[in-house]
């Protein structure tokens, strides 16, 4: 068992850059996922770890040994392919024995280890079958047994579950994780399925546009995405651009109090508002208007442990260049849950992420807390456990809400007005565009 070090890897095909300066470490015994949309370079990276491609620059180390330049058959890696790649002319046990016979393992031991590997995936009874006599899930498990039989240093999984139907995929996810725990093998999973990555991994590396966008635990990348690309790729988001409220214009609640030192730590030029014992920063979202011409006032808790203050060290307010030079992340439009035109932060604005499931829905006039607005239902999509509701604000802008099924005995009707509200710490600032990492 050993860890994997990816050191400053870049890969170009002709004048196309597939990966640029990817640097990461997968720890020993870790279940690590490389997640990204198709074409982000994740498969290229996996192929370089396996030795099917060589990096243009940079190095790859497995267990401290440099493997860059070594052919695949010298790397001692187990790999499971998307199409399983079982040898159709060999029986299940011959498939599993393939790597052992290549290594000239004595016959007795080959038999033993084949049985052991098949037991690990619960397919002992199928040893003499041919691959074409197996179901998709069984083939998948044979492929895993074959990869593990050679007792590799690391296990690479190239979208191994994408050819299975939804229910089987869930079962195989559990099984994969169990096998990984039992063997303790360092594992890299390549996937474009964010749910799969979140539920299986110890840590996730998110690749976008050939660069590592974020590296962190599932909780990190979902709750504290480092930039807009990650926020939009993982789960659904409402993105809200908001400008710090000018102290003089702070209407409604109590005028801005003295920042109490918070201004020194928080890089926002937003007036601090004291609310329920927390220091909140006030913003005005020009694109969300509860009434025409009346930007929605947002109160964000930038020091909240759940929030993004720690991860969000880059200061957009003082670095307007980042905001103005923010092209829409590639592929983000399709993933985004928010209206596309509504979220280009202007210079000096901050981009906030508000997860749809963080917004609460109450009967009109009954919303609670500092962030609330009335909004009318414009569309409902029922997905069983969750209701995806699109709300239009009276002035402008819209928000997507994921409400839980039991909260709505009857589906909301289009046009119906509710109160939407959310906690200050649910507003997570994100870097616009893609971030350097």
């Amino acid at each position: 068992m050993s860890g994997i070090r990816i050191q400053e890897i870049s890969k170009t095909f002709g004048d196309q850059t597939a990966l640029s300066h990817v640097d990461l470490e997968v720890f020993e015994g870790e279940f690590f996922s490389l997640l990204g949309p198709s074409g982000c370079g994740k498969t290229t990276l996996l192929n370089m770890i396996a030795g099917f491609l060589e990096p243009t620059t940079g190095g790859i180390f497995i267990g401290g040994r440099e493997v860059t330049g070594l052919p695949p058959y010298r790397r001692e890696i187990g790999m499971v392919f998307q199409d399983y790649a079982l040898f159709p002319h060999l029986s299940v046990s011959d498939n599993v024995a393939y790597g052992l016979r290549i290594r000239k393992v004595p016959r007795k031991e080959v038999q033993e280890r084949v049985r052991e590997s098949l037991a690990l995936v619960q397919l002992e009874a199928y040893a003499s079958r041919m691959p074409h006599q197996l179901s998709g899930g069984q083939r998948q498990r044979v492929a895993i047994a074959r990869a593990l039989a050679i007792r590799p240093a690391v296990l690479l999984l190239d979208e191994p579950l994408s050819n299975l139907d939804a229910k089987l995929r869930k079962d195989m996810q559990t099984e994969l994780r169990n096998i990984q725990r039992r063997t303790g093998i360092t594992t890299i999973l390549v996937t474009h399925d964010q749910e799969e990555a979140l539920s299986l991994s110890d840590r996730i590396g998110i690749l976008g546009d050939g660069r590592l966008q974020q590296l962190g635990t599932p909780l990190d990348v979902y709750r504290r995405p480092s930039n807009r690309f990650v926020a939009e790729f993982i789960g659904q988001v409402n993105l809200i651009a908001a400008a710090p409220e000018a102290a003089s214009a702070a209407g409604g609640s109590s005028p801005a109090e003295a920042p109490l030192g918070a201004a020194g730590t928080a890089p926002y030029a937003a007036p601090a508002v004291r609310e329920g014992g927390a220091n909140l920063a006030a913003f005005a979202a020009a694109q969300l208007q509860a009434a025409p011409g009346e930007p929605l006032r947002l109160l964000a808790d930038l020091a909240a442990p759940e929030g993004g203050a720690a991860a969000f060290s880059g200061a957009p307010a003082s670095a307007p260049a980042a905001a103005s030079a923010s092209p829409a992340a590639p592929g983000s439009a399709a993933i985004s849950a928010s209206a596309p035109g509504a979220v280009s932060p202007q210079s000096g604005e901050t981009l906030f992420m508000l997860r749809p499931e963080r917004i609460r829905v109450a009967a009109a006039g009954e919303g609670a807390g500092v962030n609330r607005t009335p909004a009318a239902v414009s569309g409902v999509s029922y997905a069983g456990n969750v209701l995806r509701i699109r709300f239009e604000l009276a002035g402008s802008g819209s928000l997507t809400v994921h409400a839980s099924d039991p909260d709505f005995p009857a589906l909301p009707e289009p046009g119906q007005v509710y109160d939407l509200y959310w906690r200050p710490q649910d507003l997570i600032p994100v870097l616009p565009g893609e971030g350097p990492l």
Binding site: G51, P72, Y73, F81, A85, P88, H89, I102, R146
Partner: protein, 301 residues
Amino acid sequence: MSEQGTRRISAKRGKASAGLFQWLLLSPSLLFLTLFLLVPFVMLLVLSFRDVDSLLTVLPTYSFSQYIDVFTTPAYSRTIGSTLWMALVTTGICVLMAYPAAYLLVRTPSRGLRTFFYILLVSPLLTSVVIRTFAWIVLLAQNGLVNEVLINLHLINKPLSLLWNMNAVIIAYVQVMLPFAVLPLATSMGEIPPNLRRASMILGAGRIRTFFRVTLPLTIPGMLSGAVIVFSLAAGSYITPLLVGGRLQPLLPLAIYQQAVQVFNLPLAAAMSITLLLIVGIFVALAGWATKRWEGRMRDV
């Protein structure tokens, strides 16, 4: 009647009319094949059982005398044996040479280069058999190019007799029949999912072991279908052995021609022809059986 039942019946009727239409489309070629292949074949079969008198006049009686003649006359059985041997050697050489060629065709990434290789490969088929064979005569004759080069390099003193023997026939056959071996092989090689090679390599096998353990077994059907074509053509062709081997080579097609056109023993020529057909038929059947067995292992038939 239920709606479903009605639909099933109309579907059946549609199928029947589609079947009729297919037969209509096929009828010209079926008619042609019946008239010019099936009928002559039956006539040949009948003729091969006829007796002849000492003046080689065909008698109205039937017996196995011609077949007994074919299999008991030492000259004829030697001819059968050497025909079989020559066809097998040609097939073997073609298959051996086809593997690297097919590999090159499949693995060439550039489309243009691949097209070039294909054209190069099939170019012998695009030349007339006479021109192609005369080119071999120019090359292999006593004062031909090969002998002159060898003499000028002082590798030999006297010119080798490269022409008018079985080796010349085999060389000329390999040249023209190689594409028939390469094309089906390249097709079956191209159908191997690339991940199988990768899986083999990541499991520790280098290129050579991957070839013998994965590529070779999976291309057996393609290799066999190429072998069948080469074998049938090599066993049955007439012009190439006549031109580069001479008419005295112990080969069945030459012997048949001799009996039919020069000796004018038509029943014997017919019996030889049927024997040749049987040899090729047995080879085709064996290859077909092997292919089916092998493919049956890999998928449900």
